[in-house]
Symmetry: C2
């Protein structure tokens, strides 16, 4: 087994159109980005539009998404989540039975098969999963709670797809559905899953707020949204500065200006919804007759909850809230690539020695820290100056950049290491670089 | 951080209906399995039907699928594959331009959005990926070959969905698309990807044959199928016993009974198609004008290939060809769970001491071999005899079963370890169990 293949930037399929355009307008003429994250993702070779609200996710985005899903899997499995996978084609009958076939209106993508049977493309899966649980004839209270989740593509015929992956027509969602033996148990499940969501956003280092929310077409009696405050956000939120109260304004009756608990003046902000939780009760279980046998051996309806995290939306929303006007910043944990290596310019006096020394760092690092091997990119565009490539690296937001600069010919050789999230630059020997990067986490 | 949570069989969402039904017929009355793998997957709680040709994948299937995709990722990335993700909603115009909108007929699921624009649900993505590459205006010959792949859900309105995941309407596929600078380079790519496919099936331990095949609606001039010989297979194959020649009979002009190379009598078999490779030439690149600039700085059409592996079909096909009439056998590498632990029966004289000793093995193993922690199931249905649970474990096809039997009260305690793929049973101490299982691979 030879050395791991080096990832050369020139060979990566990440079509860069880095020159920065104007400010993005929120209405958007056709083909024009409508917000910062969309513009940065288009320029950085992260997404490519195919039709309104539909995007190709390019390789760096798939890497970030797979990392994000790993973190979600950890958090969901820590609260007993079991991962399954439900079909996109959902039968019209099932949706008619729940009443949502009509209720959802034109947002639902509908089609018929060759036998003229009707289907929708699932925007969410309450009906299907409840039917699945209802089909388990022998379900006992001893097997509850059941916490089932999936990560799949969802479809919604948005009237106005815009903001790139923030409001698209095809997107990925993590959706969990829970089944409990009593309302009390279901409320406990609700708290546990909300706590898992908090832990998830905290691990990503994203500034989030949890607010009371309306239940909309999903239904149920209790609901919360997880929101990232941002001007581009489509939701209006009010927050108590002491943290006693937080709500989406759509849940309030008229203007509310002071906290119901402490009386302090509420602050207002806009937010991007990245997660949504619902306590459903028996809305769906009563339609599908999803029952379990109780301790008294009687059939009893399961108490349900459902819980969504927007996978592709979180990617875009992270970029939206963490980036500057012209530089992408990712939550470090899920950056597509953790490291960029910049060798000397072609024709410079450090060229030969510096390139060899840097490649040595690259290879030794891949050997010493194998979990970072696929996360290291070598910017081999040596026709460009170090400065130009460093600027590109800054725009693309690698958490760390290792440069073979002027001091690479010292004895021992010294490398520049940029920590892009803190703005710090360190001058380190090869051993120092490996020591520093040994702290970098990937999921 | 406490001990890893133990996976209790009674808590897993794997609805078992283990009593074995009759032989599966290939026509199938509604709701009746049409082949062995479908019957075993239904009985074993691996799949659940929602509508014709659409299935819920239950948690053990998702585990197997994720393992399978990891192995595919390794093989595809070893030949320079870069993973992206293309939309399911594909615009009608794009498919009209390639001629396939009409050619595919009723197999294509079609729908319109709220603005009455037409779409199909992608059964494959030649058009979309070629358009994507064509949109890269600055593509240089130095960036070729490009080898792009994805693992996504595909849709095909089968006239006769049957055989469970072998012929379904919604399924997962790994599809790779390659772009080269010359026919020679593209032929080299074709060989490399075919070799990666051989390596993939060899690692899984699946008996496969590579046969020349027809190109069908995809097009191109050269094509091979990877087939698993099986009576249930829908393809007829002829093979030279010396390995000089192998073909799908649909490629032959009339009956061919002897090898064109060595003259030996060809044998006939049926096969399940699990992979398909196509050399496409410029069929799609010429429609989308997917060009690169050559060394002479002239625009030149890319030479293409495309390559598919049926992800969910491989799961079912593996079970079809490896299993017995009533026991599932997985390729060990991708079995949903590697290990099943069976404690003594409730009320037996070994109950208390045996259960504690077995749980100790379970926990120590999870600590010593952390990569197996999520792969170990504890069959806590202790109201059942060991024999009954051992039979269930055999039917579900865990590669290894560890039993706290009669000899668990010896000093030192001795456990029975069943290797279900070889039929071997060993009597080992705890250290022996851990030593043996340290050789078990998971992707």
């Amino acid at each position: 087994p030879g050395r791991a293949r080096r990832l050369l930037l020139s060979q990566l399929f990440q079509p860069l159109a880095l020159p920065v355009g104007g400010q993005a307008g929120s209405e958007g003429r056709p083909g024009e980005p409508t917000c910062r994250s969309q513009r940065l993702m288009l320029q950085g070779g992260l997404i490519h539009p195919t039709s309104p609200g539909c995007y190709c996710y390019l390789p760096p985005t798939v890497r970030a998404m797979e990392k994000l899903i790993k973190v979600m899997d950890e958090e969901m499995q820590a609260v007993g989540g079991q991962k399954l996978n439900l079909p996109s084609l959902c039968s019209a009958e099932l949706w008619r039975a729940s009443g949502r076939w009509n209720q959802m209106g034109p947002e639902l993508f509908r089609l018929v098969d060759r036998h003229n049977h009707g289907y929708c493309l699932g925007p969410t899966h309450e009906e299907v999963v409840t039917e699945l649980v209802a089909s388990q004839s022998g379900l006992s209270y001893k097997q509850l709670p059941l916490r089932l989740y999936q990560v799949t593509r969802k479809f919604r015929d948005e009237p106005k797809p815009r903001f790139g992956l923030l409001r698209s027509r095809e997107f990925y969602m993590k959706d969990m559905y829970t089944f409990d033996a009593s309302e009390e148990a279901a409320r406990h499940t609700y708290e546990q899953v909300c706590d898992a969501y908090c832990s998830f956003f905290t691990r990503l280092g994203l500034p989030f707020v949890k607010v009371q929310a309306a239940t909309g077409s999903i239904g149920g009696t209790t609901s919360h949204e997880f929101q990232l405050p941002a001007d581009i956000g489509e939701d209006r939120l009010v927050l108590c500065p002491q943290g006693h109260f937080a709500a989406n304004v759509e849940t309030l009756n008229g203007e509310q200006t002071s906290c119901p608990t402490c009386g302090e003046k509420l602050t207002e902000t806009k937010g991007i919804e990245v997660g949504h939780t619902f306590y459903l009760g028996t809305k769906y279980s009563s339609v599908a007759n999803a029952v379990f046998s109780s301790a008294e051996n009687k059939p009893q309806l399961a108490e349900m909850g459902c819980y969504g995290l927007g996978v592709t939306r979180i990617l875009a929303a992270s970029i939206e809230v963490l980036s500057t006007e012209d530089s992408i910043r990712w939550p470090s944990l899920i950056a597509p690539y953790q490291l960029c290596f910049i060798p000397p310019k072609r024709g410079s006096k450090e060229e030969e020695e510096g390139a060899a020394l840097l490649e040595r760092v690259y290879d030794d690092l891949a050997e010493a820290l194998p979990h970072l091997a696929g996360d290291s990119v070598l910017d081999d565009r040596t026709q460009l100056t170090i400065g130009k490539r460093l600027k590109d690296a800054n725009r693309l937001g690698y958490p760390y950049v290792v440069v073979a600069g002027k001091r690479v010919c010292e004895d021992p050789p010294v490398f520049e290491v940029w920590n892009q999230n803190t703005g710090e630059v360190l001058y380190l020997t090869k051993e120092g670089v490996i020591e520093l990067l040994s702290k970098v986490q990937v999921p």
